[in-house]
Structures are given as C-alpha cells and as structure tokens.
C-alpha cells in the first residue's frame, strides 16, 4: 500500500514538472511534438530508475558511514553523467532502432535537473531502497505524463490565434500554469 501511495503521489500530486519545477528545460524544449515527448519521457524514466538503483547504495553504504555526505552533489552528478554515457553506449550496441529513437535525448538528460533533483529528494525523504526505486519510477512516469499532455496541447495550439508576443515560450508557460492548477485537484487523493 505504501508503495502505491509513493507511486501515485510522485505521478500526480507532487508531479515533478508541474508541482516541483524539475525538468522545466526539456519540458519547454521537447514538448512541441508528441513523438519526441514520448521518447524523452521514456529515456528519463529509464535513467531515473537506474539512478535510484545506483545512488541509494552509494549514499547509504559509502557516503553516510564515512561522513562524506557533503560530497553528495559531486557524487550524484558524476554517477548520473556516467550512467547516461553508459546507457547510451549500451543502447547503441544492443538496439540501434531504440538508439535512433532516443538518440539526441540521452545526452540531454545529464543536465536535466529532474534526475539530480530526484536523487537529492530521495535522500531528503529518507526512503528505503525499494521505496526509492518506486519513487524513481513514479517520478519518471509523472514527468512523461506532463510532457505528453503538454505536447498534445501544443500540437493543437499551433492552429490557435495566439498574440504575437506570447508565441512560443510565453503561451507554453501559461498553459503549464493552467495544467498545474488542474493537477492541484489531485492533492486531495492522499493525505
């Protein structure tokens, strides 16, 4: 039950993009087409889950016992950067079609603050190993959900008569604001 709560809360209530403001750059950058939004979401969910699997043991077995937790930022960013690199090489070898689909989105993930933010949040929340992994999957799915909804709206928006100065980033942020308001409706799900 606890795991379901974590999952639902990460996807809907504390949605990384719309409630925590993590991963805004890719949210604005790749949400103009539905297909690229799905690829980006998949790549982020995948890397986030891997990050959960790797950073938890690293923090609780290496950094915390030796009182090195001030090195957390440097350690996590290095872990994420090398994970992304590794995943990229692995996918390139094992599944070229998938590599073509994810291609340019993989390197971008390193500087996606959603991933580092997730690793830091998981430590702040004192989750157990399994809870961290569930949280990672949930956060990734939540990111994907927000991205896909946004991409769907933006594809429609192309035909709308938007004031000149608001075109592009302006209207996207306004739509995101309305989406965030809508997502606040989920807050009553769990207390």
């Amino acid at each position: 039950m606890e795991y379901i709560i974590i999952l639902v809360s990460a996807i809907l209530i504390n949605n990384f993009v719309l409630a925590q403001f993590l991963g805004i750059c890719p949210f604005l950058g790749v949400s103009n087409r539905l297909s690229s939004a799905i690829s980006m979401g998949a790549a982020v969910t995948f890397v986030m889950t891997l990050t959960a699997i790797v950073t938890w043991p690293l923090f609780y077995l290496v950094l915390a016992p030796y009182k090195l937790d001030f090195l957390q930022i440097i350690t996590f960013i290095l872990v994420i950067a090398s994970l992304v690199q590794f995943v990229e090489m692995f996918i390139k070898k094992s599944s070229p079609p998938l590599y073509d689909a994810l291609g340019i989105f993989l390197p971008l993930i390193t500087t996606n603050c959603a991933i580092l933010g997730f690793a830091l949040f998981a430590v702040l929340k004192n989750y157990s190993y399994l809870e961290t992994i569930v949280f990672g999957v949930g956060a990734g799915l939540g990111f994907t959900l927000a991205l896909v909804i946004m991409a769907g709206i933006r594809e429609e928006l192309q035909f709308a008569d938007v004031p000149q100065s608001l075109r592009g980033a302006g209207i996207t942020l306004l739509v995101a604001g309305i989406l965030a308001l809508a997502f606040m409706g989920f807050a009553g799900l769990i207390r």
Partner: protein
C-alpha cells in the same frame, strides 16, 4: 560574434539582449521554484552569482589545459565544487533560507545558465572578460528572479520581504500566485511583456 564587444557591452548584454531567462530560456527551474518570496529569490540570486563568477574565473584560467573531449565533465565537476561550497555556506550561516531553498541550491549544478556560459564563453575568453560576462548574466538572472519574487509575493500574500504592502482590509491575497501554477503564469506573462517591449524597441 563578428567583432569584439567592449567590456561594458559584454556586461550589458546579460541584462537585456541575451538575458538568460527571458531570451535564452535557460535556468527555468530555480526561476519558477524559489520565487514565491523575495527573500528566497535573493538567496538564489546570490548563490548563482557566486557559482557563476567563481567557475567562470577558474575555467577561463585553465581553459587551455582542458582537453576538448572531457570539457563538459570538467566543467560540471568544477561547478559542483563551487555549488557545494555555496550550499554548505548557506546551511551554516542562513539555515532558514537554506531550508526554504531545499534541493534547489544543489540543483544549481545542472542550471543550464551556468554550464551554458562556461561552454559558450568562459572556455573561449580571457579571465577578465569571462568574469564580466558572468557578472552580466548573474545580474540579468537576479533581476528576473527579483521581479518574479516581488510580483508573486505581492499578489499572493500582499507583502514584500515580509512587510505588508497591500493592506488586507481592501486586498484579498490571490493564493494562486504563491502556488506552482502562479509561477508558470507569472513567468509566461513576463516573457510575453519582454517580447512586446523588445519589438517596440526594434520597431523604433
């Protein structure tokens, strides 16, 4: 850049023409997340300024020794080092602020404004020029943060820096502006207004 800018142009471009937030759309996450109160905005602007200046100086000093293939990891490690310093400093001397900013201080590491400036400017220019550029970018970033913080705190709470500006007798605070949704709306409108002004200036 076809011809070399003067130092003052280097500084001023960060404020308006190449403003990191309004024009380049970089570093949006902290912009939205920590601007619910002016105090938080000031804290974040300070931390970003420190990290940006320090890493611009270091990176432009050692720019000729960094091999091109590993330059991004090198930048990230240098930035992460300064971010750790800023994070520890805030936690030690301003515990309340540090708590309010939460994970967004460590997240300066992946703030694309910083990495972007390192890649686009500090790794190619002399230290003095890089520091000026970094200073301009930080001030541009800080100003937008402050505007966002002031608008949201004023409309959402009727206060600025905790001081009551709009009297609760006749002003009913619009809660939504402190909430996440308000951040998106404020920034969206701010970008719209800046585009409008930009166009008016260009049309003259």
């Amino acid at each position: 850049m076809s011809k070399q800018n003067t130092l003052s142009q280097e500084f001023l471009k960060g404020l308006w023409k190449e403003n990191p937030n309004l024009v380049q759309l970089l570093g949006m996450c902290p912009m939205l997340a920590v601007t619910n109160e002016v105090v938080n905005a000031i804290g974040m602007a300070g931390a970003v300024t420190f990290v940006l200046l320090a890493s611009a100086l270091i990176i432009s000093l050692i720019r000729s020794w960094i091999p091109a293939q590993v330059r991004i990891p090198t930048f990230i490690v240098i930035i992460a080092g300064f971010v750790t310093m800023a994070d520890r400093y805030l936690a030690a001397f301003y515990p309340d602020l540090s708590k309010a900013l939460g994970p967004f201080v460590p997240l300066i590491v992946v703030n694309c404004v910083i990495l972007g400036r390192m890649e686009a400017f500090a790794s190619k220019n002399k230290p003095g020029r890089s520091v000026i550029d970094a200073l301009g970018m930080s001030v541009g970033f800080g100003i937008v943060l402050l505007i966002m913080g002031a608008v949201r705190e004023l409309l959402g709470n009727g206060t600025i820096l905790g001081a009551q500006i709009l009297s609760p007798n006749w002003y009913d605070p619009m809660m939504v502006f402190i909430l996440p949704a308000g951040a998106f709306l404020t920034l969206g409108l701010l970008i719209g207004v800046s585009n409008l002004v930009q166009k008016k200036l260009a049309g003259r």
